[in-house]
């Protein structure tokens, strides 16, 4: 009986292990696809997604076809309420001409709290595309405290989930 239980446990473990691997594979495939497809349009390399940062300065990296003009608008959230945001443009629009490397970089200054960054690509044929990222800037201390608190109060997996959640907000 004992042997059976152990054997089935091993089989179950092996199965769950392989599913994790398979899962990893699919994501890799999709990213590869993404790069080939997105190469021809605007792609924001950094920040890759909406995120929380401890730094007021951020370097934005993006790629677009040669000859595209990419404009960047940064908005600060002026609303005090947590549910509703009121975004106000922070400073003049930044304009970047995309050259032969098909890349653009710029450094922007963010404010504590929520920030919205709009990347607008104006392609050679006149069409436009907009990608938006929301960046939350927190004090380093705040981020640290949050992490520490979650580590003390909850299990490690939940702590990780918490961090991941704030990252995806």
């Amino acid at each position: 009986m004992m042997k059976k239980i152990i054997a089935s446990a091993i089989v179950l473990l092996a199965l769950s292990g392989s599913s994790v691997l398979a899962h990893g594979d699919t994501t890799q495939q999709t990213t590869a696809k993404e790069t080939t497809v997105e190469q021809e349009s605007l792609r924001v390399i950094n920040p890759r997604r909406d995120m929380v940062s401890g730094d007021n300065n951020m370097v934005l990296t993006f790629s677009a076809p040669e000859g595209t003009t990419v404009t960047i608008d940064v908005y600060y959230n002026t609303s005090v309420s947590n549910d509703k945001q009121n975004y106000v443009q922070a400073y003049d629009t930044i304009e970047v001409e995309i050259g032969a490397l098909k890349r653009g970089w710029t450094e922007v200054e963010l404010k504590k709290g929520l920030n919205k960054i709009d990347f607008t690509a104006i392609y050679k044929n006149g069409s436009e595309e907009v990608i938006t990222r929301i960046i939350e800037v927190k004090d380093m201390e705040e981020v640290k405290q949050q992490v520490e608190k979650s580590i003390i109060n909850t299990s490690s997996t939940e702590a990780l989930k918490n961090i991941a959640n704030t990252g995806g907000k």
Partner: protein
Amino acid sequence: MNRERLKTLILSILVIMSILFTQRIWFYSPIRILQSQDSFREKEIAKAIEVRNQLIAPEKTILSFGGNYYTVTSSNTDKVWKQSKKVLEEYFSGEPIVKATTNERYREARKLKSIELKFGENIPSILISSTFNTLDNKIVRDIKEINKILIPAFNRGIIYIGGEEDHLYEVKLEEYEDNRLLLDFIDDFSRKSHEKYYPLFADVNNDIIMPLSYNTPVPQIVVESKINVNDDNNIIEHAKGFFNENLDFVKTIKETSGATIFMYGYGEKGVRINNRGRLEYNEEISSLSSSNVVASLDTAIDFMLKKQQKFPENLYLKEIKNIQKDENKGYYFGFSYRVGGLPVEFHMNNMSHPIEIEVYGDNVSSYRSFIREAMKLQGVTDKSAVLLPQKIIEDHITLLKEEYIKDVEEEDLHDKEMIRNIEENISSIQMIYYDSLEENRMQLLKPVWKIVIGNRQYYFNSYDGKLLHSGPLE
């Protein structure tokens, strides 16, 4: 009777006097003379060690402030090196554990607050160790050469060393004391004005850091050759030092090219000063070999201190090579220097560094120097805005692609693939002064971006982006 007494008295006084004087001559004076000789020798040794410690210094240092943000220092390296030495001393004098590590570990550590020191080419670890007054320790035994050292600011008793053939090592102290030495230093540095560098090509797995804006004005500098070739007296002054200040038995020949040759005896020793002010000294040496690189460097320093009227400021050790002539083994030392805080580079057929010296045993067989000095002129320090290296790369992408095709010998490469490969292979970007060697006096040194991609190096004028020189990596 009285007279006899007086005689005895005089005689005894004379005897006492003779004893006293003999003692002064034979006991006191020689010791003092010997002592002064000793202290002279000691002073000489101390001076040589001091110079050696100045010459063995990093070529450039990179400060990481964390959060993917860095700065590169080339003029402030002294300060960074001095601070780093306080931390490194423990590792060189202690008994750390040395083990191989991966590039990933190194890169992870570099992303956090840290200091990276980059040294010249093929610098033996024993030389760097000698600046900590130790020649035999764990690091010297386990790592042959040191190209770079990475010191994490959060002291956990670990540093990383890049050695020969790109091998990476983790050097770990079993016991260490917590200190905030580097952390405070880096934080202080971040508050002062500096150029910010970022890993702009991180998405293609290249850690190379580049600035997104360059606001420090870099002026052009006017220089002249140290030896004034239009003044015969000046030429003789420079040559004399190589013949014990005496040119009585030295033949002088003037070449039609404008070069002057000084030859001693049947050519055992000779000095040639060419029309640009480049000095070359050669001496025939009997069969001698050297295996001690520290002693050889000391010989080279001693030679330079004696023969050169003035040591160029900001000189540093750039390259070391093992050399062989017949059966004899020796060392080649290449030195470079900074003007206005930036390294000076040039391209000459028979010379790769401003000072080159070959040492066999305790003799110097060859010495070449081509030193330029900044001229004090008013109103010519032109400052223009500095272009960014990524913009220069973009503007010259057609040329870079052409050369890339030549190097990989593949013609039907996709454009996108080619650009990606070029981006992946950018291995170094540095602001330097480039000497185009057109003039002996009033030569304008331009600030240049030296960019290394794959096996090629490019020198672009940082003001207008024009290509000044390109060639295979030396």
